[in-house]
C-alpha cells in the first residue's frame, strides 16, 4: 500500500484491531479471552465512532454465528479469540465453509491443552490448518511475526477472504499480541461494500431472485460440488498467495524453518552463524495454508539438514516433513507451556543437527 502511513508505537492487539478497520471491518462480534482482550476493547471504542457495530457476544459459539449472519448479510466482519475460544468456534467455521462465506478470524494462541495458560504457544497449528470443524473445509491461514505484520496481514485478510469466499485466519500468539513495536498504520478509508451477489438483505424482488445462504446439501453431487469448489479455491490460493521470507546464507548447510514468534528467535540465531560455525538460512512461512512447499523442497535438495523450531511438541514440523519428502533429515526443537528456546538453544541445536548430518562444524 502506497498511502501515507502514520507511525505508532502500539501493541500487537491494537495493531490487529486497527488493521481490521483499515481492511474495511465495520462489524465485530467477540467474547473476552486473554491474551487478546485489547482487540475487542479497541473495537468497542472505535467502531461506533465510524458507523460500525461492536457487539459483545455471550460466548464464542454465539460470536462466530453472529459473524456467519453478518457475512451472509454482506458485511466485512471479524472476530478474534484465543485457543479455547477458537475451539468453541469450530462448528460455526465449518458452517461458514459449507455456506462459502468470507470472514476474518484472529487466533492469539495460548498454552494448552485444556484451560492451559495465557502464555505464548504455537500449539494451534493443526487447529488452524487442518480445520475448520468437521468436514473438508480449511481456513486460509496467515502467520505474521511482528506487530507491523499483524497490522498488515489483518487488513489484507479481508481482501483475501472475499477473493476466495473463505474464512481467513491470522494465526499469532500471546507474545505478538502483547508486545509493543513501532508500526506504520494503513490509513482508514471508506470502502465500497464487498461484491457479494449471494448476500441476503432488503431488495426489490423484480430485480433479483431471493437469496438463500445455506450449508445443507442432501444431494450427494451438490454436496461434492461444494467440496470441489473449495478445493479449487485452495488450489488457486496456493498459486496466488503462498508467501514466505528467507534470511541468511546463500549456501546454507542447515535450513531453519519457523513461523511467527519462533522465526524472530531463529533470525537472531542466523545472525550468530559465524560463531556457530555452521552456515544457516531461515525460511519463514507468512502463509501456512497455503503452505510454501516448493521453496522448502528446493532448499531440502541443497542443505544437509532442516531444523524446525516451534512452540509445540511438533505440528508445523509435519508440513515441513511433507515438503521435504525425505530429501534430508528434519529435526525438531519444540517447547511448550509458555517456554521458549533461547537463541543459544537454537544455535546449539543447529550445531548438533549439523554434526549428526556429517557437517564439519567450525
Amino acid at each position: 500500500m502506497s498511502e501515507e502511513r502514520r507511525r505508532a508505537f502500539i501493541s500487537g492487539n491494537e495493531a490487529t484491531a486497527e488493521g481490521g478497520i483499515a481492511g474495511g471491518c465495520r462489524h465485530f462480534f467477540g467474547y473476552p479471552i486473554t491474551p487478546q482482550n485489547k482487540i475487542p476493547e479497541y473495537m468497542s471504542e472505535h467502531l461506533p465512532l465510524i458507523g460500525g457495530v461492536y457487539l459483545q457476544a455471550e460466548s464464542e459459539v454465539a460470536a462466530i454465528n453472529m459473524v456467519y449472519g453478518a457475512s451472509a448479510a454482506g458485511a466485512r466482519v471479524m472476530t478474534t479469540s484465543s485457543s479455547p475460544g477458537i475451539a468453541l468456534m469450530q462448528e460455526g467455521l465449518s458452517y461458514m465453509l459449507g455456506a462459502e462465506l468470507p470472514a476474518v478470524l484472529v487466533n492469539m494462541v495460548r498454552g494448552g491443552p485444556g484451560l492451559g495458560n495465557i502464555a505464548v504457544a504455537q500449539s494451534d497449528y493443526w487447529l488452524a490448518t487442518r480445520g475448520a470443524g468437521h468436514g473438508d473445509g480449511r481456513c486460509i491461514t496467515l502467520t505474521p511475526y511482528s506487530v507491523q505484520e499483524l497490522h498488515d496481514f489483518t487488513a489484507r485478510a479481508f481482501e483475501i477472504a472475499d477473493r476466495y469466499q473463505n474464512i481467513t485466519m491470522v494465526l499469532a500468539d500471546a507474545i505478538l499480541a502483547s508486545m509493543m513495536e513501532p508500526c506504520e498504520l494503513i490509513p482508514r478509508r471508506e470502502m465500497d461494500p464487498p461484491d457479494r451477489p449471494y448476500a441476503v438483505g432488503p431488495h426489490d424482488s423484480a430485480e433479483r431472485e431471493r437469496n438463500i445462504v445455506n450449508s445443507l446439501w442432501v444431494d450427494f453431487d451438490v454436496m461434492e460440488a461444494v467440496n470441489l469448489r473449495n478445493e479449487e479455491r485452495y488450489a488457486r490460493a496456493a498459486a496466488e498467495i503462498t508467501d514466505w521470507d528467507e534470511f541468511g546464507s546463500d549456501d546454507p548447510q542447515i535450513l531453519l524453518c519457523a513461523y511467527g514468534i519462533s522465526a524472530r528467535i531463529c533470525e537472531s540465531a542466523v545472525m550468530r552463524a559465524e560463531e556457530a560455525g555452521v552456515r544457516m538460512r531461515l525460511l519463514r512461512p507468512k502463509t501456512v495454508f497455503p503452505f510454501p512447499t516448493q521453496p522448502i523442497r528446493e532448499w531440502a535438495e541443497r542443505v544437509d539438514a532442516v531444523l524446525v523450531v516451534e512452540l509445540s511438541m511438533g505440528q508445523f514440523v509435519e508440513d515441513v516433513r511433507l515438503a521435504v519428502e525425505g530429501r534430508c533429515p528434519v529435526d525438531l526443537l519444540g517447547r511448550a507451556g509458555g517456554n521458549m528456546p533461547s537463541v543459544t538453544d537454537v544455535v546449539n541445536r543447529v550445531r548438533e543437527v549439523a554434526t549428526k548430518a556429517g557437517v564439519s562444524v567450525g
Binding site: A62, N65, M66, G69, S71, A72, A75, P202, N214
Partner: protein
C-alpha cells in the same frame, strides 16, 4: 389462477409453491401459512430474511419465499443478530423448534432476548424432537413417553419441562411474548394475531418478540392427527397456559395495526 376466480384466502406470496416435507397432521404447515400471511399483510416480503434452524423445519428456507439463511442447531438467534445488526431496516425472523431453541440453543435465545434484539422468533413447541425420530425434549411433559423416555419422563431422571415464555418474561429486553396453540379455528386466528403483533413489535423497533406455538407431532406422539389436537387441548395447555405475557406496543397505548410498514 383464472381471472374469474376470486379466492377469499389466496395462497400467500410469502410461501413458495412447493410440496412441504412435513408429516400428515403436523401443524408446521399451519404455522408457515400464518407467518407468510402476516408477511404479505405487512407488505415486507422483500425486506424479510428468514432464519431456518435445525429440526423438522430445517427446510423452511425452501418454503418461505423470502431471502433466507440456514443456521446451525440452536444458533438461529445469534445468526439473526448478525443479520439484523448489518441491516437494521430488514425484517428478520427465526423459526425454531423446542429442541433447537430450548435445548441446544437456550443460551442464544436468552441473550438475544436480554439484549432486546429487534427480531422475531416463531417457536414451535411440540414437546418432542421430531426430525431425529421422537426423542425427549426439554419441553417433554412429565410422564410423556418418547423414544428416549420409553417408560415416560420422570423428574428423578430428567427433571421438569421448561416454560420458555415464562422464563423470558423475567427479562426487560423482550417487547412481545405470547403463547398460542394451533388447534381449533379460533385458536389459530388468535395465533395469527400474535404472530402479526410480533412482527409489528419488530417494525416499531420495540425489541425482541417471540410467539410460542403449541404444535402437534402425531407421528412421534403415536396419535392420530385428531387425537394430537385433543392432546394439546386436554394436556399440554394445562402445563403451557395460553397467554400474552408481554405486549409493549399495547403498554404504549398502540392498538393492532399500528406497527404496519
Amino acid at each position: 389462477m383464472t381471472e374469474a376466480a376470486t379466492l377469499i384466502n389466496p395462497y400467500p406470496e410469502a410461501l413458495t409453491d412447493v410440496e412441504m416435507r412435513y408429516c400428515p397432521g403436523c401443524t408446521h404447515g399451519t404455522a408457515h401459512r400464518l407467518v407468510a400471511e402476516v408477511i404479505d399483510e405487512l407488505g415486507v416480503k422483500d425486506r424479510t430474511i428468514a432464519v431456518a434452524t435445525v429440526g423438522c423445519s430445517v427446510y423452511a428456507y425452501e418454503y418461505f419465499n423470502t431471502d433466507a439463511v440456514q443456521a446451525a442447531h440452536g444458533r438461529g438467534p445469534a445468526v439473526a443478530t448478525g443479520i439484523k445488526r448489518v441491516h437494521p431496516d430488514s425484517v428478520v425472523f427465526t423459526y425454531q423448534g423446542d429442541g433447537d431453541l430450548a435445548s441446544i440453543g437456550m443460551g442464544e435465545v436468552v441473550h438475544a432476548a436480554a439484549r432486546g434484539e429487534n427480531f422475531t422468533i416463531i417457536f414451535i413447541n411440540n414437546a418432542v424432537f421430531g426430525m431425529t425420530q421422537g426423542q425427549m425434549a426439554p419441553t417433554t411433559l412429565v410422564g410423556q413417553k418418547t423414544t428416549t423416555s420409553p417408560r415416560g419422563r420422570t423428574t428423578a431422571e430428567a427433571g421438569w419441562p421448561i416454560r420458555v415464555c415464562e422464563l423470558l418474561n423475567t427479562l426487560e429486553g423482550p417487547g412481545f411474548i405470547a403463547r398460542e396453540a394451533l388447534t381449533t379455528p379460533p385458536r389459530i386466528r388468535s395465533a395469527k394475531k400474535s404472530i402479526r403483533r410480533a412482527f409489528e413489535t419488530q417494525l416499531a423497533g420495540e425489541g425482541f418478540a417471540l410467539v410460542e406455538l403449541l404444535s402437534t407431532c402425531s407421528a412421534w406422539w403415536g396419535m392420530t392427527p385428531v387425537e394430537a389436537v385433543y392432546h394439546i387441548e386436554d394436556v399440554m395447555i394445562e402445563h403451557y397456559p395460553l397467554q400474552t405475557f408481554r405486549d409493549r406496543l399495547a403498554e404504549a397505548g398502540r392498538s393492532e395495526g399500528d406497527g404496519n410498514a
